[in-house]
């Protein structure tokens, strides 16, 4: 876009959202050049911060009229470059839309704007004994809109499911600026489950401007334990044994030696120097968690646990979880640079795959720290490197890619929760066939035939949509006005 065109569009946007909420100054734009994947940066043409669904719709129409691509953005904590701008893009940042609109405890839902921070949802209802289940580690900063777009998970998704299981409805601004309601507080609205498709669509299918969340009564009791093991082999076996026994832990997280060391350095926890550790939560009725927690401990012991620690009180429990949740960032203390990888393998293969990753790392002359959601096989290998050493960054990137291929080879996925974004678009072709991708492309074409929303993400090679499909075979019912044609 030419400077004049950008200026004209900025003026048009200012009419819609107010001058204060249009950013065009290079210094202001720089904050929006990247998301949590900081290695890639592109300066957008404009950043617009609308305050309502109507404003989002008008902003989308104005951007489209100017031929500018649109990149939705929440808090920018995404780790796959999903909110990475493209050249000439208008970034639509939803951070001003952070009102909680409605709470209905009896029927178990609330309606919020997309800019509401994940943790603020639970805070709003916590005193009354309710909470919102999905708990990404970034929950104190990431937005519900971003969670919906990424179908975010968290440690407790093993028992409770992901964002998609906790979203009942959404108001969505489509690529042409029209507004649709998908689902709602009442279940089973007739029609295709387009809500299920929009969740996890990474900003490619529409901009979510309101979300109806499912909220739950807090469980009666939670029991937590921390178990140490000589190596990830025994820890992996413990996870398998616990799940095989019929126990559904609320969460079961694994850390390897490097991750434990990093978490210790960051939090001052007195965790021992061991090969692996598990942190498990059981929650539910008190009668159940007493039993499942003790049984799980027994199984962990049988699998080779060295030591079991039970938190004495809630404060100590929170500290254990803090250790786990800070492990990502803590890795910064033991390595100048690192990549966070996100892949999934069948749970029963954890030990084997971790060993293979270790061997691959050794061959590449790199270290990998592992801290991850063991219960559902969602690995988060942290590839450590030093950008100051020539060739290391590239080697680390290659290792990250090889780990994804390994996940696919084991029947898993290239992403369990961080999304494909721009980072992993090339790997989609590793996991899916051309026809698989083409079919997803058809869905995208139905929502956004001009591919104006968040281009460059998810698809390795975007399918061009062509004209609206046809020819349409006329039908007698059509004449009667009972059926339609587009």
């Amino acid at each position: 876009m030419s400077i004049a065109a950008v200026g004209g569009l900025a003026g048009r946007m200012a009419e819609i959202v107010g001058e204060r909420h249009v950013l065009a100054d290079p210094a202001e734009l720089s904050t929006y050049e990247c998301d949590g994947l900081t290695g890639y940066r592109v300066r957008p043409a404009l950043v617009v911060l609308p305050g309502s669904t109507e404003e989002v719709a008008a902003v989308v129409k104005a951007a489209r009229a100017a031929g500018a691509p649109i990149v939705p953005r929440g808090a920018g904590t995404g780790l796959s470059g999903g909110a990475l701008p493209v050249e000439g893009a208008v970034v639509v940042a939803l951070s001003r839309m952070k009102r909680i609109l409605e709470i209905d405890l009896e029927n178990g839902w609330m309606r919020v704007e997309p800019g509401v921070i994940n943790l603020d949802v639970s805070k709003a209802i916590g005193a009354r004994g309710f909470y919102y289940a999905p708990d990404p580690s970034s929950q104190s900063v990431c937005t519900i809109g971003g969670n919906v777009a990424e179908n975010s998970g968290g440690a407790h998704c093993l028992k409770y499911g992901f964002t998609v299981h906790h979203v009942r409805g959404a108001r969505v601004v489509l690529a042409d600026g029209s507004v649709v309601d998908l689902g709602g507080p009442v279940l089973d609205a007739p029609g295709y489950d387009l809500l299920g498709v929009v969740v996890g669509s990474e900003g490619l299918l529409g901009i979510v401007t309101e979300v109806v969340l499912r909220i739950l009564r807090k469980p009666e009791a939670t029991r937590t334990f921390f178990a140490t093991f000589p190596s990830t082999d025994e820890a992996g076996a413990a996870v398998s044994a616990i799940i095989a026994s019929g126990i559904v832990p609320a969460a079961i997280e694994m850390m390897d030696r490097l991750a434990i060391a990093a978490a210790k350095a960051a939090t001052g926890l007195d965790w021992p120097d061991v090969g692996a550790a598990l942190l498990m939560d059981a929650d539910g009725p008190a009668s159940e968690v007493e039993l499942t927690s003790e049984n799980a401990i027994e199984l962990a012991r049988k699998a080779g646990a060295i030591e079991i620690r039970r938190p004495r009180d809630e404060a100590e429990r929170q500290l254990m979880w803090k250790g786990r949740k800070s492990a990502f960032a803590a890795v910064g203390r033991i390595s100048p640079n690192y990549f966070v990888q996100d892949g999934v393998i069948p749970r029963s293969e954890i030990a084997r795959v971790l060993r293979e990753i270790g061997e691959m790392a050794a061959r590449a002359g790199l270290r990998v720290a592992n801290v991850f959601h063991a219960g559902d096989g969602n690995l988060h290998p942290l590839v450590l490197y030093d950008a100051a050493l020539p060739g290391q960054e590239k080697a680390a990137e290659e290792l990250g890619g090889d780990i994804l291929r390994l996940c696919v080879r084991y029947g898993g996925s290239i992403t369990g929760e961080h999304g494909v974004g721009s980072d992993k678009a090339p790997y989609m072709a590793v996991m899916f066939s051309e026809d698989d991708l083409d079919t997803m492309g058809l869905v995208r074409c139905a929502f956004d035939p001009e591919l104006a929303l968040n281009p460059g993400k998810v698809f390795p090679t975007p399918r061009l949509c062509g004209d609206k499909p046809g020819p349409f075979r006329p039908h007698p019912e059509e004449a009667a006005g009972r059926i339609w044609r587009e």
């Binding site: 007739p190 295709y192 996890g200 369990g416």
Partner: protein, 415 residues
């Protein structure tokens, strides 16, 4: 049309009075894909059928050249107990799958009526569910991967074999509830659960809607976690509530006793059922869900039972002479069914449905006709008013089935 998997249609192949031109019974996914590709080349219309338990749902097919039966797509391709997943071909009946999984102590937590006939593919396509939805959700929540045969005959996969997976658009969810209008569900990969060690069913009789709501509030406040919660309508607008706990023995017993105490405190009579009585009750549930030649599904907020009773259940029961009504109080979903005895009662039902639908729609709910005789169908649209996203739904349909050959006219708004 080539020979291959085709056979001439028989009387029982008719769908809502329409005879298919031919019936295809492919024995493999590849053969199924070949059939679909052939119809695509010839511009023929298709209808996919599994066990035939929900073929009456939606509008009558506008055209029906080929009925593709998934009957012979009957392999449980994979069961990985340690990963708690199974890969299953579309034509496997739920009861058969249950047997295979139970041998390794697991189950698919989907329990719609008629498991002997209902097939995996059909259950997904109709998003059919039973009482365990209260805890486990529907196929939408348990389906983690799908292979579909597109309208053009190409095979496409979505999702995968691991429970946690956000790579690409969620094709499994798009297929769930799409009633065969977007493609053939050829194989499905499910998340499984362990078979519970114990189960306990309790029943509280004769609750008025307000009492039922209050009791549910108490159950929630006591943080009990039932696996199924179902209310059966009895005469006079009262409901018998059934609650089932499943899981490890001590916890099932503790929750059962706790519920009994809660009811005691509220001066409600509660009965803990023995195994035979519990089995009979859940069979009664399945029968009620299938009762009658006119059957509807209603959705409202759970708190709206009072208005559902006055605006939907009572008038339908009046119109039909009698109706079996089941309400899932934690979900806000109900089913009502009955058989009109004469033309007057058909007319009464046809008149009651639109007003019941209006009552529900006023608070964001819906009424869908699941089965009805011709006379009711012509008077009442099976789906009701077009949803807000109807043009988007049409666009999705036309992108995936540009010739509009898959079950034309069956889905919402004539899709």
């Amino acid at each position: 049309m080539s020979a291959g998997p085709y056979r001439p249609p028989r009387a029982e192949d008719a769908v809502l009075g329409k005879m298919p031109g031919a019936v295809a019974e492919p024995a493999s996914i590849e053969e199924a894909a070949a059939v679909v590709a052939e119809t695509s080349r010839d511009g023929k219309s298709l209808l996919f059928a599994g066990g035939g338990t929900d073929l009456e749902v939606g509008g009558a097919p506008e055209a029906l050249d080929v009925l593709l039966s998934t009957r012979r797509l009957d392999r449980v391709a994979e069961h990985a107990p340690s990963d708690q997943i199974a890969v299953v071909e579309a034509g496997v009946p739920l009861a058969v799958l249950a047997q295979v999984l139970a041998a390794r102590g697991q189950r698919l937590a989907l329990d719609p009526p008629l498991p002997e006939r209902a097939t995996v593919g059909g259950v997904i396509a109709a998003n059919a569910f039973g009482p365990r939805r209260a805890r486990y959700g529907t196929a939408r929540d348990l389906l983690i991967g799908v292979t579909l045969v597109r309208a053009d005959g190409r095979l496409a996969r979505g999702g995968g074999k691991v429970v946690k997976n956000v790579a690409g658009f969620d094709m499994p969810r798009l297929m769930t509830g799409s009633l065969g209008t977007l493609g053939l569900i050829a194989t499905a990969t499910f998340r499984l659960h362990p078979l519970p060690e114990a189960s306990a069913t309790l029943s509280v009789a004769g609750l008025a809607p307000g009492m039922l709501r209050a009791l549910l509030g108490r159950i929630r406040d006591a943080q009990l976690e039932p696996d199924s919660v179902v209310a059966f309508r009895t005469g006079g607008g009262r409901f018998d509530l059934a609650v089932r706990f499943e899981g490890f023995r001590p916890s099932v017993a503790a929750q059962r006793d706790r519920l009994a105490r809660l009811c005691g405190e509220a001066s409600l009579g509660i009965e803990a059922l023995d195994e035979a009585a519990a089995r009979a009750l859940w069979e009664r549930h399945d029968e009620a869900r299938r009762a009658g030649t006119v059957r509807v599904k209603v959705a409202a907020l759970p708190s709206a039972l009072d208005s559902v009773e006055r605006g939907v259940f009572a008038p339908l029961a009046d119109a039909l002479g009698d109706a079996a009504c089941v309400w899932y109080p934690t979900l806000g979903i109900g089913f009502a069914g009955g058989s009109p005895r004469d033309a007057a009662s058909v007319a009464a039902a046809a008149a009651a449905l639109p007003s019941a639908r209006r009552t529900l729609a006023e608070s964001g709910g819906s009424l869908v006709l699941l089965a009805a005789p011709e006379a009711v169908r012509t008077a009442v649209d099976p789906w009701g008013d077009a949803p807000s996203a109807v043009s988007l739904m049409r666009a999705v349909k036309l992108r995936l089935d540009p010739g509009r050959r898959l079950a034309p006219g069956r889905f919402v708004a004539g899709i």
